[in-house]
């Protein structure tokens, strides 16, 4: 079996794990299957990334039908980068979920939880690997439907309302995406993204192409929670089970950003996106508003999950800000931040999952009073990940902010560089609220007494905290990968 087959297996193995988990029905067996499948996908993604770095873009014909007649998997520098992020986070969260999900869900639901988790991971991986517009929609729906269920499994009844609202908005987003793809299909006659990119130049009438750009942008923006289409996100993150919040926050919005990048730069091309439509200007304004408003709202939250959910809206703003610059440095910053923010948010929500378990309910600022003493490792982890969120040198977050500032200055936008630094101070404010409660306040009556979270949870959370530091000290891997991806995107055809 040649390593090329890994392109398909990285997606199919987690997909197969889901029905397998339903068949075995036992919680432990289902957990083992899910973790092993995600681990396999991670190993496959790493091998694919090395292969792509050495030999360039990899094309895989599913069913051995050549594109554009069959469906093509196309792994290039960008998709390999995102595959590694998604499968890596999936593996860590799946391993973490064993204790966390057992504490938050009824025992007879657990095997369904793991099946849904595998489907969500497979859907996100499939969206990343595919080179076919409609296949992307199908896997987007697998990921979306499973995440609606995962959110609805939260203990609070508000999880149901959050899941319903996400279902409505997510379906509208997906349908917009399909309308956009349909217009592109009617104008070009093909669904293969590379073929579509080549044939778009020959389309006589630009109106369907521009409308398609608008529909795909709005549809994907709903999924990636771009301001002002982020309304579903805070409730969904706040009431979902902890492991689900960590997984979705670290991967789902990131894959949607990947889809946006893919369509903007590989399909439509800079010509249409930058010159025919004012997309960079629109994105720039929305990103600025997202960063400022969501960061400010985050300060006033009392629930840690909600607080960091609003922070996610702001951080997505930084990523789209990088995209709006449409320069090699801007895209590098966006792609590096996509990775670093994924790792950071994954770490944060896993640690909060530990607190929620010990507090026996929501991790509110009230519940974390004096946490520095009762759960020292968890608190320290949140502080380190918080520093990465702010962008303190020595953490992963610094690297992405650094490139963003560089890109802004290169574009001659000194005020933008200043804006990035200034809004990081707002992040200081909301991270400080945790520090204040955990280290400066006496333990309140609601404080968890049972001590540190189980080692089986803490170890995996700290793996990601370690990632926050590691990718801050040694940025060679992430930055090199992101730069390759950025140059590929701006270099024309995928």
């Amino acid at each position: 079996m040649s390593p090329v087959q890994l392109a398909a297996l990285a997606v199919v193995v987690p997909l197969i794990a889901a029905p397998a988990a339903v068949l075995v029905r036992g919680a432990t067996a289902a957990w083992a299957i899910a973790t092993a499948a995600c681990g396999f996908a991670f190993a496959a993604a790493l091998m694919l990334a090395t292969d792509v770095a050495a030999h360039g873009t990899l094309s895989y014909a599913l069913g051995s039908w050549p594109a554009p007649w069959g469906i093509e998997y196309r792994i290039d520098a960008l998709s390999a980068f995102v595959l590694v992020l998604v499968s890596g986070i999936a593996t860590v969260v799946a391993a973490f979920a064993r204790r966390s999900a057992a504490a938050e869900l009824p025992a007879d639901q657990l095997y369904l939880f793991y099946a849904m988790f595998c489907l969500c991971a497979a859907g996100l991986l499939g969206m990343t690997a595919t080179g076919d517009a409609f296949n992307l929609f199908v896997f987007m729906e697998i990921a979306s439907l499973s995440s609606y269920v995962l959110i609805a499994l939260g203990r609070d009844r508000r999880a149901l309302v959050a899941a319903y609202q996400y279902l409505i908005l997510g379906t509208i987003g997906a349908t917009f995406f399909v309308i956009g793809v349909g217009m592109l299909y009617l104008a070009t006659g093909t669904l293969n993204l590379a073929d579509m990119a080549g044939r778009l130049a020959g389309v006589p009438d630009s109106r369907p192409v521009l409308a398609a750009l608008a529909f795909i942008t709005v549809g994907v923006s709903l999924k990636l929670a771009l301001f002002p289409l982020h309304l579903w996100l805070p409730n969904a993150y706040a009431y979902a089970p902890s492991a689900v919040t960590a997984f979705l926050a670290a991967t789902a919005t990131k894959v949607s950003i990947y889809v946006l990048l893919r369509f903007y730069f590989s399909v439509f091309g800079a010509q249409v996106v930058v010159e025919d439509m004012p997309m960079p200007q629109i994105l720039l304004v929305l990103s600025l508003v997202a960063i400022a408003s969501a960061s400010l709202v985050a300060i006033w939250q009392t629930d840690l999950k909600r607080l960091f959910a609003y922070s996610s809206v702001a951080q997505v703003g930084y990523i789209t800000l990088g995209i709006s610059l449409a320069s090699p440095d801007g895209l590098t910053a966006a792609i590096v931040h996509l990775f670093n923010h994924g790792v950071t948010k994954g770490a944060l929500f896993l640690l909060i999952g530990g607190i929620a378990m010990r507090a026996g309910g929501a991790a509110t600022l009230e519940a974390v009073r004096g946490l520095g003493r009762t759960m020292p490792l968890t608190s320290l982890g949140i502080v380190i990940a918080g520093l990465s969120l702010i962008g303190i040198p020595g953490t992963a977050g610094f690297i992405s902010k650094w490139f963003l500032v560089l890109a802004a200055m290169q574009a001659g936008h000194w005020w933008l560089a200043g804006f990035v630094v200034l809004t990081s101070l707002i992040a200081v404010a909301y991270v400080w609220r945790f520090v204040e409660a955990a280290y400066l306040a006496e333990p309140g009556p609601a404080a968890p007494r049972a001590g540190e979270a189980p080692a089986a949870m803490l170890a995996f959370a700290w793996l990601l905290v370690g990632g926050c530091i590691w990718f801050g000290l040694d940025s060679s891997l992430t930055v090199a990968g992101a730069r390759r991806a950025a140059l590929l995107l701006l270099g024309g055809a995928p």
């Binding site: 889901a18 007649w69 369904l112 109106r207 608008a214």
Partner: protein, 176 residues
């Protein structure tokens, strides 16, 4: 003649959709949505999409209606509340209508044999599918073979929905 029949059916569908939007009695809405699906299936037959028509009739008018009636029985709500502030949704909808009309104005006219979708990719399916797969129904050949991976995804979507409904609706021993 074919064109006139299609146009008439489409107009009828639009009428049912508008009635559906105005109706507030939920039971009537479900019945209207069943009628809407049957009309859609008829239009699809007129458009030569027989496989899709069969699926729409069994799923849209069949399964969906059963599920909706079941849900109405469990939820009880007979009347939907009247609209409180209809202007914002109307504005949003109109903007989207504008974008759609703008986009479709540039698309090839109905039944134009030189449209891109008729000259690219599809000729191989129509001319070679029988030889390459041995299946005369081209839709089946494309569905199960050329784009078989999409259908695997589709099956996974059905499975996701099934497992999701089990997770949401199965009664547990200590259910509230």
């Amino acid at each position: 003649m074919e064109g006139v029949i299609i146009a008439a059916l489409l107009t009828l569908m639009a009428g049912v959709a508008v009635a559906l939007a105005l109706q507030r009695n939920l039971f009537s809405v479900v019945v209207l949505s069943g009628a809407y699906s049957f009309l859609m299936a008829t239009v699809l037959v007129a458009l030569d999409a027989v496989d899709v028509a069969m699926t729409e009739a069994s799923v849209g008018a069949g399964i969906s209606t059963v599920l909706l009636l079941g849900a109405l029985y469990l939820c009880g709500g007979e009347e939907a509340k009247p609209l409180s502030r209809p202007w914002t949704p109307l504005a949003v909808t109109l903007v989207i209508v504008g974008a759609l009309v703008y986009g479709t104005l540039g698309l090839p006219a109905f039944s134009d044999p030189q449209a891109p979708i008729h000259v690219h990719v599809v000729p191989r399916y129509l001319n070679e599918a029988l030889r390459e797969t041995g299946v005369p129904n081209v839709v089946t050949a494309v569905l199960a073979s050329y784009r078989g991976y999409d259908t695997l995804g589709e099956t996974a979507v059905v499975f996701t929905a099934g497992a999701g409904v089990i997770a949401l609706l199965r009664r547990r021993k200590r259910d509230r």
